[in-house]
Amino acid sequence: MLDLPEPTQLAVPAFTILILAEMIIGWKNGRARYEGKDTMTSMLMGLGSTVAGALSAAFFIGFSYWVWQNFAIFDMGTALWVFALAFVLDDFAYYWIHRMGHRMRWMWAAHVIHHSSQHYNLSTALRQTWTGAFTPGILFKLPIFILGIEPAIVFFVAGINLIYQFWIHTEAIDKMPRWFEYLFNTPSHHRVHHANNPRYLDANYAGVFMAWDRLFGSFIPEEKEEACRYGLVTDLGTFNPLRVAFHEWLGIFKDIWSAKRWKDRALFLLSPPGWTPDGSRMTSDMIRTAWLEREAGKKSAKPEAINPAE
């Protein structure tokens, strides 16, 4: 087994320094905002995620190597170009894992944690799941192992991918140069991804390369006239890390427990968040449709008389 370092572990001191730097910049010029308890929760979720990752690592490494050793079509070796290819393929797999993380409630139960802050700053990048091991996300990476790339290389480039995604969690940077915005994930694109405005829901899933969103129709640009509001469509009412980590799993459990049909039980896991058999809750598609209808209504409505009091 190839012995490669864990990039994210090495980057932790830099993450902390950059968070402090953004905090001071935000304090001076107002372009970033922090809140003590929110920051504490985000960073504790990051710490817990590291512990959870360490606990489940043996299983994932073992499983990945088993697939690679038994089903690999080619022996890709360890040349530099293999690392580059692995980076691109892993980013593609990340796109689909991330997209399913928003479109399938089972995977959302783990990913929701990352979106649970109403703030958007570098500490939000650390607000990571504790329960990713309980989702089928790893299945999206199997084709890379079957192609013949050694799992250690894939885990290494995935770490670099995560480090890249750290710096885009900021409001301190407005836009990057146009060519960069076109090719790569940026703070602007990722602000849209974290926004809960109906206009911006379920967009910009990319890790590094925006090509995947442009290719698969999930790209939405940040509009100057509509500032991003961050968080969930139903925000959490707590900073308690345990409640943050497990709230959606509990919700799924309760829904499955009270469901009357096996089909509904399965759909509570596999359908988008917000799905119910009777439509009593709203999925992101329903929220966006309702918003579009309100917008259309506003445009078609006759101009109202001006209220002199306003």
Binding site: T16, I19, L20, M23, I24, G26, W27, R33, Y34, E35, G36, K37, D38, T39, M40, M43, L44, L47, T50, V51, A54, Q118, H119, S123, R229, G231, T234, D235, L236, G237, T238, F239, N240, R243, V244, H247, L250, G251, A290, W291, R294
Partner: protein, 145 residues
């Protein structure tokens, strides 16, 4: 992760969070304007200004908006740090209310926010509870064709 590294990380997290709380003060309390604005954000289908009664806790950390229009219900708001969390309760029969020494408390079926307490004067407290009871009565009445 070695234990000393874990403990060191916890201490580092606490220090960073403390610095954040010192640099970014959070003096904002809920006001009628803020309550209406946030309720409208969560419940864009409601015509709030025409059809609502607003109650704000004396501590400014929670509020209730009684919705009187077509969408009868209650919106409960809490200040979470410097942000606001809103819960629209359309089935008031599923919410338990109780009078406390300082006001009123709502028990809701919500894992991340199971209880919301409001400090209210006696008059406001009674007024809110009466409005809530009226809503509960209207929700529990059978609909006749």
């Amino acid at each position: 992760m070695p234990l000393f590294q874990f403990i060191g990380s916890i201490i580092a997290v606490a220090i960073v969070a403390w610095i954040a709380s010192r640099l970014f003060h959070n003096p904002n309390k809920l006001t009628v304007d803020r309550v209406i604005r946030n309720t409208a954000r969560y419940c864009p289908h409601l015509n709030l200004e025409a059809n609502s009664e607003v109650f704000i806790s004396e501590a400014g950390d929670s509020a209730a908006v009684v919705l009187l229009g077509d969408h009868k219900g209650i919106a409960l708001l809490t200040a979470l740090g410097d942000r606001v969390v809103v819960r629209e309760i359309t089935e008031t029969t599923k919410v338990k209310t109780m009078k406390t020494k300082t006001g009123v408390a709502f028990d809701i079926d919500d894992f991340t926010q199971p209880k919301i307490e409001m400090q209210l004067q006696e008059d406001a407290c009674n007024s809110l509870l009466n409005a809530f009871q009226r809503l509960t009565k209207s929700h529990s009445e059978p609909v006749h064709a």
